[in-house]
């Protein structure tokens, strides 16, 4: 059966509500963290193999500009994923499911995750 309903695929006319923004950023941060995971696991393995490996990895993690970008994204990813995930678990437990409260907490999550990320960014820079 053919579907004759009109489609609106112009994304610029669709405004994403704050709770949806938290939700999609939760997904995006999760995917980013999964993709960056090999950096941590492989580095962990090689870091104990020899002192020269350790020093290379240490330099990469602390001095390289490339990793600095990864580090900032990773820090935001972990913090956002954690705070947004906590909100989603609380929603699952029926805390704060009234629309007004849910909208309010979604703004809090966005703000808080950015603020904490910013503090940690400054700390590790």
């Amino acid at each position: 059966m053919e579907n004759k309903r009109p489609k609106n695929l112009n994304l610029f006319t669709i405004r994403l509500p704050f709770p949806a923004m938290v939700s999609i950023l939760h997904r995006i941060s999760g995917v980013i963290l999964f993709i960056l995971m090999p950096l941590l696991t492989i580095a962990l393995y090689f870091s104990v193999q020899s002192e020269s490996f350790f020093l290379h990895i240490y330099q990469f993690f602390y001095d390289s500009t490339l990793f600095k970008a990864f580090k900032l994204i990773m820090i935001w990813g972990i913090i956002h994923h954690l705070i947004a995930g906590t909100r989603h678990i609380l929603l699952d437990l029926h805390f704060g499911i009234d629309l007004i409260i849910a909208r309010f907490t979604s703004k809090i999550v966005l703000l808080l995750s950015f603020l904490i990320s910013f503090i940690v960014w400054v700390w590790v820079w």
Binding site: F34, M37, P38, L44, Y45, F53, L82
Partner: protein, 125 residues
């Protein structure tokens, strides 16, 4: 979740209980991962190969880190599968990305296992 959306042995092992619940319970374990990393991060005074290998020379420390990484993979793999199912409509590309990420994860788990039992590949370096 629709019927038959995700069919694979990974979840069949754990019976028909919902992935939804697994993801939330693994999320709770991951709070400890974050707390664990934060605790040790705040204690770092100086990072050297000697202090690094002293810490990971202890089997219990290695086990804790590997266990928490495995829980992370368990948690992440549920989410990643849903993201792949939701956004990659081309069946071929869908499978390609699926197996690429699965391969990446299995490779990392092998590295984590070698790290745990302390096998050295590159002792000569």
């Amino acid at each position: 979740m629709g019927l038959g959306m995700v069919k694979n042995p990974f979840f069949n092992i754990f019976g028909g209980m919902t992935q939804w619940l697994y993801q939330r319970f693994s999320a709770l374990v991951l709070y400890f991962f974050v707390a664990y990393l934060l605790y040790h991060w705040l204690q770092i005074e100086e990072v050297s190969y000697a202090s690094w290998t002293l810490f990971f020379g202890n089997f219990l420390n290695r086990f804790t880190v590997v266990f928490l990484f495995l829980v992370t993979f368990f948690h992440a793999w549920i989410g990643v599968q849903h993201v792949i199912e939701d956004y990659i409509k081309n069946p071929l590309l869908n499978r390609l990305v699926y197996y690429l990420l699965l391969f990446s994860m299995i490779l990392q788990i092998i590295f984590l296992f070698l790290f745990l039992i302390g096998i050295k590949f590159y002792a000569a370096f």
